[in-house]
């Protein structure tokens, strides 16, 4: 994947967002009157973002218009991206399920799924690790840190 195209798209998006910050007064609510308004620093930062994003976009656009081949860090290698999407999916499912089924029930499945994703096929030690680790974290958090991880609520 050609990173220069992403640079142009991302810079455009950042510039649009920065222009919104610079022009929209509804992004801040309430607050006391001070010498420095609440939007002073965000607007300074937004102006800087416009400058830096535009610099990156212009550099990439010049290279793209010259038709030069991307080299070094300008090439994004997308091999193995499917694994990342599966991992994000697992993590989102974990986030959604924990409030209902609890940490102790959801975690072994997540650990098992991540182990499988990483190519683990030694079922017995993987299952053992997937069961023992959440138990240790759950009781360790409860007893030593006084942190109560979510429990079954269905």
């Amino acid at each position: 994947m050609d990173r220069r195209k992403i640079d142009v798209a991302l810079s455009t998006l950042l510039i649009i967002l920065s222009v919104i910050i610079l022009t929209n007064d509804n992004l801040v609510e309430g607050g006391a009157e001070t010498d420095l308004s609440s939007m002073f620093l965000p607007r300074v930062v937004a102006s800087l973002i416009i400058i830096f994003a535009a610099t990156i976009a212009i550099q990439s656009l010049i290279k793209l218009s010259q038709g030069t081949q991307p080299e070094g860090s300008e090439i994004i290698i997308t091999d193995g991206f499917s694994g990342i999407f599966i991992y994000i999916g697992i993590f989102i499912a974990y986030w959604l399920s924990v409030p209902y089924v609890g940490f102790l029930v959801a975690t072994p499945f997540v650990m098992f799924a991540v182990a499988m994703l990483l190519g683990g096929r030694n079922w017995v030690p993987i299952i053992a690790t997937s069961i023992v680790t959440p138990l240790l974290i759950y009781y360790g958090s409860r007893e030593f840190l006084r942190v109560f991880l979510p429990t079954w609520s269905l």
């Binding site: 990173r3 640079d7 991302l10 950042l14 910050i21 992004l27 801040v28 609510e29 309430g30 607050g31 006391a32 009157e33 001070t34 010498d35 420095l36 609440s38 002073f40 620093l41 965000p42 930062v45 937004a46 800087l48 973002i49 830096f52 990156i56 860090s73 994004i76 091999d79 193995g80 694994g83 990342i84 991992y87 994000i88 993590f91 989102i92 974990y94 986030w95 924990v98 940490f103 975690t107 997540v110 650990m111 991540v114 182990a115 499988m116 994703l117 990483l118 190519g119 683990g120 690790t129 997937s130 680790t133 974290i137 958090s141 030593f144 840190l145 942190v147 109560f148 991880l149 979510p150």
Partner: protein, 508 residues
């Protein structure tokens, strides 16, 4: 000061802090030695566990993880030629050559001794320099602090990014994210879009784990089909090949001292980090060596130079953080977050407001080296075995620790959503060449900038020329300009070198 140091030792020599150091050292070496897991990952995962203990125990434990994690990186570098951290790249060259020659014990021992010597010297410099330097920085008022912070943003953004605009853009994005939520000055809610959950801003721990730690898990998942390398210590029948004699250590001691000095100096400058220190020290050691040809092919002196320099950075990188509130690199930024969470605001006032705690932390930092020496020497085989664990045992655990760590911060499931979103953002930033560490530094320092800017405006009123009345302002403006120009020159030079090398390769 010496009374404070002695008092610090009396506080640290208790069961809790000592157990914290031991645990930190074991975790640090193990995580550091696992390829794909770095010291920063270990610190970020351990951080939430320290919330509920005394700052002396918690911070000392994190610092122990940091020091031993940097050392641990050299184990995988030496044994399987896979540096746990970029700073161990040079150690991998010489160390692995020694491993192949059956002298892994010699390489591991030299790496350990050099690391500990470098760390100890830098820690001593930290202890001796930080407090007096903080007295000078105490003279700075809000106006000077504004310029100091602008200097920090400029230096870190220009030096640490892939390119200057990308580094500075990373910093600006961090600053913008720091302004989400209720303003600590005016009480106004900014960028909350009506969501009350955003009033408190983004929770630091899940954001930190997401930006800095989880993208490393993504990298491992992407490389999941590459074969696993088993680590093993090769033993030579000649016992002299498996250890470092006092004579050998004495021979390289000069190199270690010089490299530690370089590491300490480089570490104290914001934005450069341990890799730069290792490369400069290695180059200098090679230049002055009697046997420069051996470098890269199994030189014990080369390992000593690289390791002492990259470990010396650990201590000295805390100098700008503790005296000026400027974290010099990503680990220092993370540690600064840890200090803040524990109610200690890094900066010159820390030496007056939390004298006992800070000197106890210093004592613990020094003591860590002794524990590192003992534990690493006694447990080489154990750490090698732990680091050889297959990735499908390690990364499911990292996932769950990250989840539990993010939840622990606020005991809130919304923090897990923050973790997921910032994980994606952190990985995306890496793909497009933005620097997540600079983003975090921008995020941490912005509240300080806004507070000081508000005070400075209140002082100068409408007479804005008073901003430039102090010589400090001009010094920091000049320093910022110097760093930007020198960074541009360095990058241009590096580009020219690459182009020359490519042209030579084409001709060949």
């Amino acid at each position: 000061m010496f009374d404070n140091i002695l008092n610090g030792f009396s506080l640290i020599l208790a069961v809790g802090p000592i157990l914290g150091i031991i645990l930190g050292v074991v975790i640090g070496i193990t995580f550091g030695a696992i390829p794909g897991v770095s010291a920063i990952m270990a610190i970020a995962i351990i951080l939430p566990m320290t919330f509920y203990v005394d700052p002396i125990i918690g911070i000392t434990m994190l610092l122990a993880v940091y020091k031993s994690g940097i050392y641990g990186g050299s184990i995988s570098a030496i044994l399987i030629n896979t540096p746990g951290a970029a700073a161990s790249f040079l150690t991998a060259q010489d160390g692995h050559a020694l491993t192949k020659a059956g002298k892994a014990g010699k390489a591991l021992n030299m790496s350990l001794f050099a690391s500990i010597t470098g760390e100890m010297l830098a820690t001593l410099v930290l202890i001796l320099v930080a407090a007096p330097f903080s007295l000078i920085s105490l003279q700075a008022g809000p106006i000077e602090k504004v310029f100091l912070l602008l200097f920090a943003f400029t230096v870190i953004g220009t030096m640490a990014g892939e390119s200057i605009p990308r580094g500075l853009l990373s910093c600006c994005l961090g600053m913008l994210f720091a302004m989400v939520g209720m303003s600590s000055i005016t009480g106004a809610s900014r960028f909350t879009f009506g969501y009350t959950e955003l009033m408190g801003g983004f929770t630091f721990t899940p954001m930190l784990i997401g930006i800095l730690v989880m993208p490393e898990v993504f990298n491992v998942i992407r490389r999941r089909r590459t074969p696993h390398h088993e680590m093993m210590i090769t033993h030579s029948p000649n016992p002299a090949d498996n250890r470092i004699s006092f004579k050998e250590f004495r021979r390289v001691f000069g190199t270690i001292l010089k490299s530690s000095g370089i590491g300490t100096f480089v570490g104290a400058l914001p934005g450069l980090g341990s890799s730069t220190a290792a490369f400069i020290a290695y180059g200098e050691a090679k230049r002055t060596s009697k046997k420069p040809d051996e470098y890269g092919k199994g030189s014990v002196e080369g390992i000593a130079a690289a390791e002492s320099a990259n470990n010396a950075v650990c201590g000295s990188s805390l100098i700008p953080m503790l005296t000026l509130s400027i974290p010099g690199d990503d680990v220092a930024a993370l540690l600064m977050g840890a200090f803040l969470i524990h109610g200690l605001t890094p900066g010159p006032m820390i030496f007056f407001e939390h004298t006992e705690t800070i000197y106890a932390i210093f004592a613990g930092f020094l003591l860590t080296d002794l524990f590192l020496l003992g534990i690493a020497r006694a447990g080489f085989k154990f750490f090698v075995k732990m680091a050889s664990l297959r990735r499908y045992y390690i990364f499911p655990c990292v996932t769950v620790f990250a989840f539990a760590g993010a939840f622990t911060a606020g005991q809130n499931m919304n923090d897990i959503l923050i973790l997921i979103l910032f994980t994606i953002m952190g990985y995306g930033m890496r793909l497009v060449g933005l620097n997540p560490a600079v983003f975090i530094i921008g995020f941490i320092l912005t509240p300080f900038l806004e507070q000081n800017l508000d005070q400075a405006i209140a002082i100068v009123g409408t007479e804005y020329h008073l901003f430039f009345a102090s010589p400090f302002s001009w010094v920091f403006i000049a320093l910022s300009a110097f760093f930007v120009i020198s960074s541009m020159r360095m990058r241009r030079k590096a580009k020219a070198n690459i182009a020359t090398a490519a042209a030579k390769r084409k001709l060949a």
